[in-house]
Amino acid sequence: MHVVVCIKQVPDSAQIRVHPVTNTIMRQGVPTIINPYDLFALEEALRLRDVHGGEVTALTMGPPMAEDSLRKALTYGADRAVLLTDRYFAGSDTLATSFALSQAIVKIGEIFGAPDIVFTGKQTIDGDTAQVGPGIAKRLDLLQLTYVSKICSLDLDAREIKVDRRSEGGTQMLHGRLPCLITMLEGTNEIRRGSLDDALRAARSQIVKWSAADAGIEDLSKCGLRGSPTVVKRVFAPTARTEKAEQITTTDKALGDLADELVVEIFARQPALEHELAFDASA
């Protein structure tokens, strides 16, 4: 079987700082990582390959330095890595991104064999849109299975797949057909460490680098800024509330008294709560 996993190199959002005066993102020194949600997709792909045989291709679109993430994917055990990089892709929104990635997946299919499954993480931690996966599925006319928490069964001969899918308030059990696109939920598997063999192989591996033309994209008007119907007009910092928390600390007070003071203050500010807070000893 052939599985393609779309990953994204993202800034580690936990370490992003905003310049206090200019309100711009301070990118310098911010480490980049593989989007954490994509690692669950990669792991799931590797597990399927380990059971059913075949190959896993990691794919990313990004600047040349996104190669680092692909190399990392190889150390986890991916068999091959493709970097889609071209200045024409700069400024892509989710619609343009899904176009470029879908074209690259078609090309990957032509060269390395058509994928049975395309995986992505449920969303990225920088964009948070969860739109690129569904976008790729629609572009390629693939069955779309989002927020998948478990792949229950996969029958390559019958071209059938059964998955559990997270939905509001429960889990949907779905039956679908291959090929399909799956966006994987976080926490669904334990991400492997990668073997020494994989690390050595990754260090030696060539990363396939494709420009738009290499990926067979003829219509550049569908790429990058030109192919993006959404445009960011304004970026600004959230307005800080001027008043800070009223701190009711005193070090010499007993904790019980402090707690009492706090509860009195809570009810003073939100009188309705006194009736609403339910005391239920049996709960």
Partner: protein
């Protein structure tokens, strides 16, 4: 099997970055504001009502109608969803009634909604950023080749009538305002609890426009084998809880989470946590509060041992009263909390739980009333 990509160009125009041009002629008849009414297992998701409240403001500004879109099987639940849409402010309801729309599946829902949009041409289409809404919105926007702005926190209409959609970016540290240029409809998703719930009105049923979309079960690849409802009430309740207690890294060990759970139990609250706790595996992801977790909008939020990273702030900004407990008087949480207690949450939580227990037992409640 080979994959082919849809490279054909349908009517919608491609965007032109940064330049707002005169809309192409065939977009000028795109009018009205639509809200997708999310019905799953016979219940309307409250985010639909929140969106109707917001959609009402946009429609009034534009001087157009507000419509609710209901996709579902024939039956009471679908009719009820339409009645609810009117009660929360819709002028019109668009309905695709089909037995194949019983459980949510991407294919028939995408087909029905895409077909409705192509036929009746809304200017703005809003959906909830739920698992269902995000799954559906991405497919519909790609099919229509239009823009989609995810997880908006603010929607407005600018001077020339374009939708200005504001959303957090870079993990919530900045906000950006996004326009969909030269494409229609302008689509956006909004997370539950970001917009205020509008008042429910007793309104007679309005105009329902039924639309038939031919669909055959044989053409739908996905089959629903079953549904397992969450026994753990947490999964759906956190976003809609009136009182929430949250725990952060300041609790020190996963063992100490019981202090948060105890307080929550005593005051009938839901409990959640900040992102690091989920990453450490101390709590399941569906209890995470913040930018990549749940947005909450309770009357009272007690944050224990949470430093208040920007990602967390995005998720709790709508709370009426935020009480923070943290040892560090300079923790960012005190910048947006209303009340702060500078102390060790591990020691303070049991004391607070005791006080609430005393005050809220039925006996002492009676006493307080006198």
């Amino acid at each position: 099997m080979t994959l082919t990509a849809n490279q054909e160009t349908p009517p919608p125009a491609v965007g032109r970055a940064g330049t707002k041009k005169e809309l192409p002629e065939h977009f000028k008849d795109y009018r009205h504001v639509w809200v997708f009414i999310e019905v799953e297992r016979e219940n309307v998701h409250p985010v639909s009502f929140e969106l109707l409240g917001e959609g009402r403001k946009l429609a009034d500004k534009l001087g157009v109608k507000l419509a609710g879109v209901v996709l579902g099987p024939p039956g009471d639940a679908t009719q009820q969803a339409i009645a609810e849409a009117f009660a929360y402010g819709a002028d019109v309801a668009y309905l695709v009634e089909n037995p194949l729309l019983e459980d949510y599946r991407n294919e028939p829902f995408t087909k029905a909604l895409t077909n409705l949009v192509a036929t009746y041409k809304p200017e703005i289409l809003l959906l909830g950023a739920t698992t269902l809404g995000r799954d559906l919105a991405g497919s519909v926007a790609t099919t229509l080749l239009t823009g989609l702005t995810a997880d908006c926190t603010e929607l407005d209409v600018d001077a020339d009538g374009s939708l200005a959609a504001t959303r957090p970016t870079f993990g919530g540290s900045l906000l950006c305002t996004i326009y969909t240029l030269n494409c229609r409809p302008q689509m956006a998703t909004v997370r539950p609890r970001v917009m205020a719930m509008p008042r429910r009105m007793n309104k007679p049923i309005g105009c329902v426009i039924q639309h038939g979309v031919p669909m055959l079960e044989e053409e739908i690849v996905t089959k629903v084998l079953g549904f397992l409802s969450d026994v753990r009430s947490s999964n759906s309740n956190l976003a809609y809880a009136d009182v929430v207690v949250g725990g952060g890294l300041g609790l020190g060990t996963s063992e100490n989470l019981k202090l948060v759970k105890n307080l929550a139990r005593v005051i009938g609250a839901e409990y959640g946590c900040s992102r690091p706790l989920v990453q450490k595996g101390w709590m399941p992801a569906d209890r995470q509060i913040g930018q990549t977790g749940k947005t909450i909008r309770p009357k009272l939020y007690i944050a224990a041992g949470i430093s208040g990273a920007i990602q967390h702030r995005v998720g709790v900004g709508g709370a009426d009263l935020i009480v923070a407990i943290n040892t560090d008087p300079n923790a960012p949480i005190f910048e947006f909390a209303h009340l702060g207690v500078v102390t060790d949450a591990i020691r303070f939580l049991p004391a607070l739980t005791d006080v609430f227990t005393q005050r809220l037992s039925p006996h002492s409640r009676d006493k307080l009333a006198n």
